[in-house]
Amino acid sequence: MEPNFFRYVWRHSTREQLGILALVVLSLPFYFASLNLPKAIVNGPIQGEGFATPEATGRFLTVALPVPGGDAIELFSGFDLTRMPMLFALSGLFLALVFVNGAFKLQVNTRKGELGERMLRRLRYELVDRVLRFPPQEFRRRKASEIATMVNAEVEQLGGFIGDAFVQPAYLGGLALTALVFILAQSFWLGVVALLVVLVQAFLIPQLRRPLLKLGRARQLAAREMAGRVGEIVDGIVEIHANDTSNLERADIAGRLGRIFRIRLEIYERKFFVKFLNNFLAQLTPFVFYTAGGYLAIRGQLDIGQLVAVIAAYKDLPGPIRDLINWDQQRLDAELKFAQVTEQFDPEELLAPELQRPDAPAPAALAGGLKVQSLAIADERGARLLQDVSLSARLDERIALIGPPGGGKEALAYALVRLLQAEPGRIAYGAHDLAALPERVTGRRIGFVGPDVYLWPTSVRENLLYALKHEPRGEAAAGLSADDIQEARRTGNMPADASADWVDYEAAGATGPGDIEARLKDALTLVGLGETAFEWGLRLRLDPQREPALAERLVAAAEGIAARLAEPAYASLIELFDEARYNRNATVAENILFGSSSHAAQSLDALPRNPHFRAVLAAAGIERDVLGMGLAIARTMVELFADLPADHPYFEQFSFIASADLPDYRAIVLRLGDDPGEADPETRERLLALPLRYIEARHRLGLVDAAMEKRFVAARALFRADLPAELRGAIEFFDRTRYNSAATIEDNLLTGRVAYGKVDAEARVRALLREVLARDGLEDEILRVGLDHAVGTGGRRLGLADRQRLGLARAVLKRPQLLVVDQALAALDPVSEEREMGRVLAWARAHGSGVVWALSRPHGARAFDRVVLLEGGRVTAQGGPEVADRFLARGAAEAPRPGPVAAAGAPS
């Protein structure tokens, strides 16, 4: 990357820079004309100079070209005007010049801004482009947050300067030179003095500022490291909590902030000193003019008029000089910053851009066999990961790589997909050297999954489809206007729309968006995520407006499910909502409302204060009973939880009363004893709030008996009978015939509550759900909805095992000719790992795909055609499954094998 800032800017903006410069030069005559005009107006028409008689006329709009040392050449002789018209003409001209000057300034500033932003866009794009082409090893010594800071914040400061880089010195230099020449013309010696002071300024000030730049650089590095450390804190937060090291981190950050503070302080001290010196030098010249010039004038050796003219001209000099010195400072700063950023983006062995070009000439598929020849790989510290590894295989072979951790199996897997670069040695697929094979082949025909699967913070569907988005399809640029495309081209950006459809459906064996879902389902099922995806779907909410047909089918299915759940085999597992019966597995509130509040807990808390609710309790004659229940619950809670510390997890999990409210309730229990009749209105509200969350089957305090059930059911009818308007939208009634958008799909299908205290009730109900849905052809639909499941940042909403499975599904989806896997299912238990691995191998056999799998547990190697043992970076054995058996036997003899199954190894 071009390390010189000016060359970089000039190369990419020659035309624009010249354009702006021309504009500035063009604007100068107008600017000078406007400076001279006020004097002409005041002296001429207003004070009457040259208008001695009413008939006297003056010349207006004379244009003359000044000739040094001679008379001016008149280009246009102008008009003769009398005093009054002259006043209006000159004032009008002044106004016109104000407009013209403003217009020039507007143009120049806009163009400078435009130029700066274009350069920034190009620079940032180029930096990210380089990150995309970094050799993969490079990322081991990089911090994501530091790269992000450089691309965003550090480059930002260059933007403002880019527009000024060439224009400013040309413009200011011109101004300063004019003033200096004028002074020299008036008085040679005074001019020499002025020139000397300027030269001292121009030499001394930058010298003094140099340490400032060094400090600025130190500050920038410190700030970048600081950003990196903050990133580390976020990434390592679990370790920090688990090891009580938060204070170490605090101390580290405090230390860094302290260093940044010291650097800043020194910057300020030096900066303001330089400023002081600069001002002092600027004032020194007038001092010389006044004393020496005055002395000469008094002695009659200098014309007073000349002295005044020199002093007046000098007024115009310090401004441009100071600005020029400032520009020089900015220049140094920008050059340093630019060099500092670009050197970070200039690692050795950047991938050639041709390897990633969407139109790179490449074979459509891999052909021939895989050949690894005397491959050696060293890590960034020079430690040998692989040495002299040679291997040849057919592309449809299934090969297991086994060996101790770090023995080379991981490195070989990474090398096969060029995530580690071989040197020396060579990997070839057929006639093609891997080093020169474009990513459009390696990234499409070869699949790779490592142990740390990265999931984008989107849905499961998007994460799967990610593997198919290689290049813009057809009208991928369609979303961009012609202007967008032109602008992108101008700054070397890619003119394609990332939000268009990029999915290569054919690669997954589909024809378009219509049948890709089936392929996604196949991939998920292959890695054992089919049922999980189905459950994701059950737990999602469906918008019936967006999918009215599906909502309707679900309502119909709910009817069938209810019928099945009513069978004796299920009767004890689930209690369906029945308008005429109390549901012992639902809360009291749900039983009275016979529905759930669509605004969740908030309105449940407000219920005891709701006039309609209270009126219903009174009309049903159960207010006293419910108060009694509240009192009983309060008594039990006080008894159970009074001794627990306030932050105990049980308050969250089991208590009806928050720890902060417990003392109040204790007082209420003591005061009222067994009789809630004495309670004041506020206490009543507090007591009424408790039973609302009470579930008889779960909490088992024996508070709702058969008689009480009947009275609650009676209250239910009253509650619904004349529901006030403000509650109407707030409650979704249990109604199997309507799709409830506020509830999950599962709640819509079950229309009841799974019974508490029944062994496996939930699993058995879910199995039935699945069976009925499969029969209705809805299973795939639910699974399809489940693809919308959000995986969270870095996939953290999924467990590690599911994340690994999803990663494998993504690699399989594109139907690679060769699937390279590095311990990608290591987080699964051994039984599941072997099962999913077996399925993937069967899939590969059916598709004629090859597999190279680095195994964390060598037991699985028996399912492969060939086993390669890597130890100490070398291939120490290869052959059939017996290689794995021998390795295992040796391992068992040497040391107990650590692993997640250690717990099962306990003596029984």
Binding site: D643, L701, V759, A906
Partner: protein, 153 residues
């Protein structure tokens, strides 16, 4: 058999819980799941790693051990009984299968909840230690007797 106090009284008939405070046992009962089993339902299976103990409160069950000839019934359980309590102290595979032989009511005490209880009430931990130590003492004595018997032969 519904009230908390009733279940607590049943727990107190067991040596393991006999000396524990009634209030603490009440919390244990309230925070743990009460399960009902039908005839043939399995509480826990031999070989699986358990994470809970079961207090049979009402009903009958049998203890089965797998042999080469299939499962063999080694004991019948009736009345208030504590089973699988070792599983809430250490991770070991179940040594037998327990199956309900009729309608059965049980309290499932999970490892997590029991540890929480020991954390909150150290007295429970001391009491558990006492119970285990007396069992160990009994086992050791039995072992000594068995050894002596073997020696005499």
């Amino acid at each position: 058999m519904t009230s908390l106090d009733d279940v607590v009284r049943r727990l107190q008939t067991l040596p393991f819980f006999a000396n524990m405070d009634a209030g603490v046992l009440k919390l244990l009962v309230f925070t743990n799941e009460r399960l009902t089993y039908e005839r043939g339902d399995v509480l826990c299976r031999q070989g699986e790693v358990g994470d809970a103990a079961y207090v049979l409160l009402d009903g009958e069950a049998e203890v089965l051990v797998a042999t080469a000839e299939g499962p063999v019934r080694v004991a019948a359980l009736k009345g208030v009984t504590l089973v699988g309590e070792i599983a809430i102290l250490i991770d070991v595979p179940r040594t037998a299968t327990i199956r309900a032989t009729g309608r059965l009511d049980a309290l499932k005490v999970t490892k997590e909840r029991f540890f929480q209880l020991m954390e909150d009430y150290p007295g429970i931990a001391i009491e558990t230690m006492r119970v285990l130590a007396s069992r160990l003492e009994a086992t050791t004595a039995e072992l000594a007797r068995a050894r002596a018997a073997l020696h005499e032969k």
